[in-house]
Symmetry: C2
Subunit: 186 residues, 2 copies
Amino acid sequence: MTAATPGRPLRADAARNRAKVLEAAGAVFAERGPSASTEEVARRAGVGAGTVFRHFPTKEALLEAVLVALLEDHAREARARIEHDDPGAAFFGFFTRVVERAATKNALSGALADAGIDPRQATGEAGAALKRALGTLLERAQAAGAVRADVTLAEVLALLAGMSHAAGHGGDGRALEIVFDGLRPR
Amino acid sequence: MTAATPGRPLRADAARNRAKVLEAAGAVFAERGPSASTEEVARRAGVGAGTVFRHFPTKEALLEAVLVALLEDHAREARARIEHDDPGAAFFGFFTRVVERAATKNALSGALADAGIDPRQATGEAGAALKRALGTLLERAQAAGAVRADVTLAEVLALLAGMSHAAGHGGDGRALEIVFDGLRPR
DNA sequence: AATGATTCGGAGTGTTCGCTCCGATTCTAG
DNA sequence: CTAGAATCGGAGCGAACACTCCGAATCATT
């Protein structure tokens, strides 16, 4: 429940502040990690602590909202690649892109899991949309012969989640290439 | 500094309590995550809070000690496999084993990183020993033709770290197989 | 422009948790 | 067995932090 149902259309300044808080939260959590205090988010957004909690009733809700925004961004990019790139390049390019931008996302879902919340359920529609887009990317790449036909979406998701966490561990660029070799037909 | 230098040999009950605390910490952090309180560790170990802090002067030191114990355990197993299994089976078997047992390790190093501590530096010798053992495993597997010759230890470490985090994401069993396919010669 | 409703800000609250302190307890040397 | 030292236990301290409350400020409507 991340304030999904706008009972009333939200006042102008309220909407502006909500956006500022969300953006500040994204930046702060990316820099200082999800354990950064809500007060720091409020300071960065230029609002009071009360304002943060009115829009996001709990810290977990704020983490969720940031994570959802990230997933929506990814899904948007996946759909763009479906239209513009060729099947193989679209799939591998998107995979690489998600891995590159994964640092924040991992920390967020880790923090949610730590609080006893299932990230997959929390992200709801946003996660499902990203999954659908990735599924399309995969199907097209398989149809074009760029990816083995016996690979399932669940396996790709596992690999994506895994390699996202491998970033920053040294030889992660070539490590991705090794995974891609495993995904390609022999 | 995880009480590495025994200035004096440590009294009998002190050594016993230290071991109890370390074991309890391993269990508690595995179950409740690294954010579990030290008091819970003390309770589980059947000692007072003061005792925990005498042996591990800070909570981070306790997390470090648990992580080091895990790494030492892995290194021990790697050396055992070097002696008993054939090169290919030793390498892939050890890789699989580490991934299976990775849940706790990941949470621990995550928590350390969150506290501004570099896990690689903190684990010191234990991490280096594990790295050496894995290096031997890799060389032997490559010499036997079970693993591509152009793969480096750094890349294997990145893949290992990554796939450790992929556990529990659904199709992680077959996902590992895909990575292994990428590691094998064509 | 004025009024009523909504939102803002930040001081304040209650709680959690890491860590300390010291009297009581347990161990070891002679 | 006994004295002296090392260790233990857990109540208590202080800081950090998520969250609340309410007077002041801002917005929408007539």
